[in-house]
């Protein structure tokens, strides 16, 4: 039997696997494994690492790592955040640090190791690499420069600036990209072996494909290349409807897509697989139904169908965005069970599953 590490590496390379790997994209639900608050998890690298290892032991999935939230870099620039007990921190909307388009030109390089939460993230990654580096492929999350810029300027204002002050926005993106590259190099040095990079602005919910590529295309190419040059796998993620997959593909230098929504011009995932079958695909569960609306049995059945349609090679089963933190943990288990069943492996009987199914 393969280790999680071998399984994930084989999936990224579109090679044979003993069973389809499962990545739950746990970014909040995993804290329930240890019963800690969100704030504890995202400010203490060791707690975050132990939480995800505990989740891995409990669920048996294959995506282990340290992921705080999307605001680590913005906070490193000095953006004040609001911390909550049960939700990820977010930028204080009353205190954005980029108060005018001129601010985009004033973003100076920063020393990430001076930023307390980045140091914690590094500590957590090193812990996972040391404790489980032989069995798992440590992961983390990075974000496209647009996201960080939006966290410092306000997303609505940034979107309007894209129309009114595109050159200023481009300058800001360039500056942030340099720091994103630094961020990725440092986490890779600490032991990360695959990075999920969020392309949150690359879909029709936020902007046209032309605007996305005109403003951020070159920055993303640089970022992709920098990650791959360090020997790290790169999974590009878009969590909104109608992702610009063709444009993302053209950026090059990546190993996998993570999606739950098809591009506008495609009618089903088999069509997607036929076109991009040479690239690993992670997903394609829609998170809300997966976490909160399906029973264990339904998740097993639908997951097995996904594996039949999209696997077994070049496929990582999971939600195409974060597993709802208030979702059913049993439904995360169900994906792992489905993967094992599809591969003819033994699955422990789940007495609780019948009870839950009956309750629906």
């Amino acid at each position: 039997m393969m280790t999680s590490k071998e399984r994930m590496e084989a999936a990224f390379r579109c090679e044979e696997v003993d069973r389809v790997p499962v990545f739950c994209e746990q970014g909040g639900i995993n804290r329930r494994a240890l019963g800690i608050t969100y704030q504890e998890m995202v400010t203490d690298g060791e707690k975050c690492a132990v939480t995800d290892l505990a989740w891995h032991d409990l669920i048996g999935d294959d995506g282990v790592g340290v992921y705080f939230d999307t605001c680590v870099l913005a906070e490193s620039y000095g953006q004040p955040l609001i911390y909550l007990k049960d939700e990820p921190p977010y930028p204080d909307p009353e205190r954005y640090i980029l108060t005018s388009p001129d601010g985009y030109h004033q973003l100076e390089p920063i020393d990430l190791m001076e930023a307390p939460r980045f140091r914690e993230q590094i500590k957590g990654i090193e812990m996972i690499a040391e404790l489980a580096g032989d069995e798992v492929l440590p992961r983390t999350l990075s974000i496209e420069p647009f996201v960080t810029l939006g966290e410092m300027r306000g997303m609505q204002q940034l979107l309007m600036d894209c129309v009114r002050y595109p050159d200023d926005v481009r300058a800001g993106l360039e500056a942030v990209t340099d720091m994103e590259i630094e961020f990725c190099r440092k986490v890779i040095d600490a032991g990360v072996r695959w990075i999920m990079l969020c392309h949150d602005y690359g879909n029709s919910s936020l902007m046209s494909q032309k605007m996305w590529m005109d403003l951020e295309g070159d920055s993303l190419k640089r970022l992709h290349r920098a990650i791959r040059e360090k020997g790290c796998y790169l999974l590009v993620h878009d969590c909104d409807p109608n992702p610009y997959v063709d444009a993302a593909y053209e950026l090059g230098d990546f190993d996998a897509f993570c999606l739950w929504s098809l591009p506008k011009d495609m009618s089903d995932w088999r069509e997607f697989k036929a076109k991009y079958g040479h690239v690993c695909l992670n997903g394609v569960w829609e998170p809300t139904p997966l976490g909160t609306q399906r029973t264990y049995d339904q998740v097993v059945a639908e997951s097995k169908q996904m594996i039949a349609d999209l696997g077994p090679t070049g496929f990582i089963l999971g939600p195409g965005c974060e597993f709802p933190q208030n979702g059913s943990i049993l439904n995360a288990v169900a994906m792992v069970d489905a993967s094992k069943e599809a591969a003819g492996m033994k699955v422990e009987p789940r007495r609780l599953s019948s009870a839950r199914s009956a309750s629906h």
Partner: protein, 224 residues
């Protein structure tokens, strides 16, 4: 005074996102003595409605919509002081906000804009709104609609709490819900009176619900 050519120029100027051009046209129309209501109904409203329709068809995107809305709001500010009290239409009132714990407001802002363009009075409670605040504002204003959104799966259940509280208080208002993780099925499960996946759909939904409520009230009056 108010010509088709003016309407057409205003429309194209707004579609080009030419803020100075739009504001100059509106100021000129006011200076030339055009009726403020006509500027709104025959000039600005059709222009911003077309922006909304293009957005719905995927020909325009959120950045352009937001800039159009910003220009539209500034144009309205020029016209407003010239409107008489009886110029205002009573199309209905909507209390809007994001669910408790949710700070994602762009979708809510777009719905608010589209409702205002359609002539509704919109009372915006902002973000992270406690359920009781929706109820209090409805009682204070007599709003026909309470509209709430959630972008997080963890804040989504607060929409259900809101619906239940409105029902328990027997408020004469329909509750509509939306937001990225919300589905039509979930809205039904929560007992909401309506759901829309987008802003234009929300306007149609509100128009329908307000018309229904008013018809019901009229019938009740007739019976009495």
């Amino acid at each position: 005074m108010f010509t088709t050519e003016f309407t057409s120029t205003l429309r194209s100027t707004l579609l080009e996102l030419d803020e100075a051009g739009v504001l100059d046209l509106i100021q000129k129309a006011i200076d030339d003595g055009a009726a403020p209501v006509a500027i709104l109904e025959e000039g600005l409203t059709p222009a911003i409605t077309e922006v909304g329709e293009r957005f719905e068809r995927g020909e325009l995107f959120l950045p352009e919509l937001l800039v159009s809305a910003d220009i539209f709001t500034k144009a309205i500010d020029i016209v407003k002081p010239h409107l008489k009290r009886d110029d205002a239409q009573d199309k209905g009132t909507v209390v809007i906000g994001t669910a408790k714990g949710d700070i994602h407001e762009i979708g809510k802002n777009v719905v608010k804009l589209m409702l205002e363009v359609a002539g509704f009075e919109v009372i915006d409670l902002g973000i992270d709104v406690p359920e009781q605040a929706f109820l209090d504002k409805q009682q204070e204003t007599g709003a026909e609609i309470i509209a709430a959104s959630a972008l997080l799966s963890s804040t989504m259940p607060r929409l259900k709490d809101l619906v239940e509280m409105v029902r328990e208080a027997c408020l004469p208002a329909a509750v509509i819900v939306g937001g990225a993780p919300v589905t039509e099925g979930l809205a039904k499960e929560y007992g909401a009176d309506g759901y829309s996946p987008d802003a234009i759909g929300a306007v149609r939904l509100v128009e329908g619900l307000v018309a229904e409520a008013r018809l019901r009230a009229l019938r009740k009056e007739c019976v009495q």
